[in-house]
Symmetry: C2
Subunit: 212 residues, 2 copies
């Protein structure tokens, strides 16, 4: 019951984040299109897919043990499949930003945002491969000894992804040279807070479940 | 034993972060002084106290149940006292940035970093007051039902503080107009990664202990 109420808040802030992100990219910015000649439309694929495609789905996957009805096996398959889709969409989102850098001749991978983002994404890929061991029949004992690391590591990686998103918003605000107290700056700040609260409530949902 | 090895890593990255922070502020920048006529020296008090004074001590306080020898009561007093010192030093660190803004006529509290930072700091203050209930003799049952919220909330707040630090480094990089692949940019990126890993290993130390 406790976990349930926090997962509702997680969903609430996840959906608010998607709405704010779309208002930002479609109304204040140029729109979202991978195959565009306008590099800014190509760039916008990156924040959209990294949040809606990657972070939002990973959050859902993390909460699946507390939100998906059915057996533990069903929840496990949902957990693995959502992560798989998130990783594929994340790869497209990362390709978008490299394509944008090529189009406008910008240097790749120099900022703290890019270091955190790429590092986290690679570790999530490894964690997914490592997690496959839980899908196959094996020694129940060795799986039980791996589970704490998988859970603690997964929660840390999810928070690292939130850090990547927030540093990305900071980088974009600086690149767009937005002024203090401009309407778009406020929108981006609320988007950032909403993404942070999505992360917090996903994490608290998992955290409280340990005590249930 | 598992928690022990991750708390060693937490200490390692905590100390690396302090060293990189000092190299940045003392060697690349102007130094650290609250009562200076040079606004940049006043500003530098902010990152120094918010990491070394606040985040590092809060991390130590969080891990105290796993690192401090002695009874549970002793650990609890260490946990509370370290948080108290961290909050006092954090207040001085926040005052420093407001003093800097006054000296150079900058707008206060407009960036995502400042919103996350101030929000997190206020919530940590509330959490500390709320945590005092654990210091006084009371119904064991009601304290046991509050503990999961205190622990899950505290972990989330600690990660929010890490997010504040990383967005702060992004903001400073943009304000200083550092160029890609400049030596100081790399130093700040490594500092950011090190702070992130300090956060990760503090969190994993607490996370693994739940399964011990």
């Amino acid at each position: 019951m406790r976990s349930y109420s926090t997962s509702v808040l997680a969903h609430l802030f996840g959906i608010i984040s998607i709405i704010l992100l779309l208002v930002w990219l479609l109304h204040y910015r140029e729109g979202i299109e991978y195959d565009s000649d306008n590099p800014l439309r190509v760039f916008n694929v990156h924040p959209f897919l990294m949040f809606f495609g990657f972070i939002f789905l990973v959050g859902q996957a993390i909460m699946s043990y507390h939100t998906v009805p059915g057996t533990h096996e069903t929840q496990k398959i949902v957990h693995m499949t959502l992560h798989f889709i998130a990783i594929i969409l994340g790869i497209v989102g990362i390709c978008a930003v490299f394509k944008f850098h090529d189009m406008v001749n910008l240097v790749d991978v120099y900022s703290l945002h890019s270091w955190i983002g790429i590092g986290t994404f690679c570790l999530v890929g490894l964690q997914w491969l490592f997690g496959l061991t839980f899908m196959f029949p094996g020694s129940r004992q060795s799986r039980a000894s791996l589970a704490p690391w998988h859970i603690a590591g997964g929660r840390a990686l999810f928070y690292m992804a939130i850090c990547a998103a927030l540093t990305g918003l900071m980088e974009r605000t600086a690149m767009l040279k937005l002024q203090p107290h401009q309407r778009e700056s406020h929108l981006i700040n609320f988007l950032g807070l909403s993404i942070l609260l999505f992360g917090v409530f996903v994490d608290v949902t998992v955290g409280l479940a340990h005590f249930a």
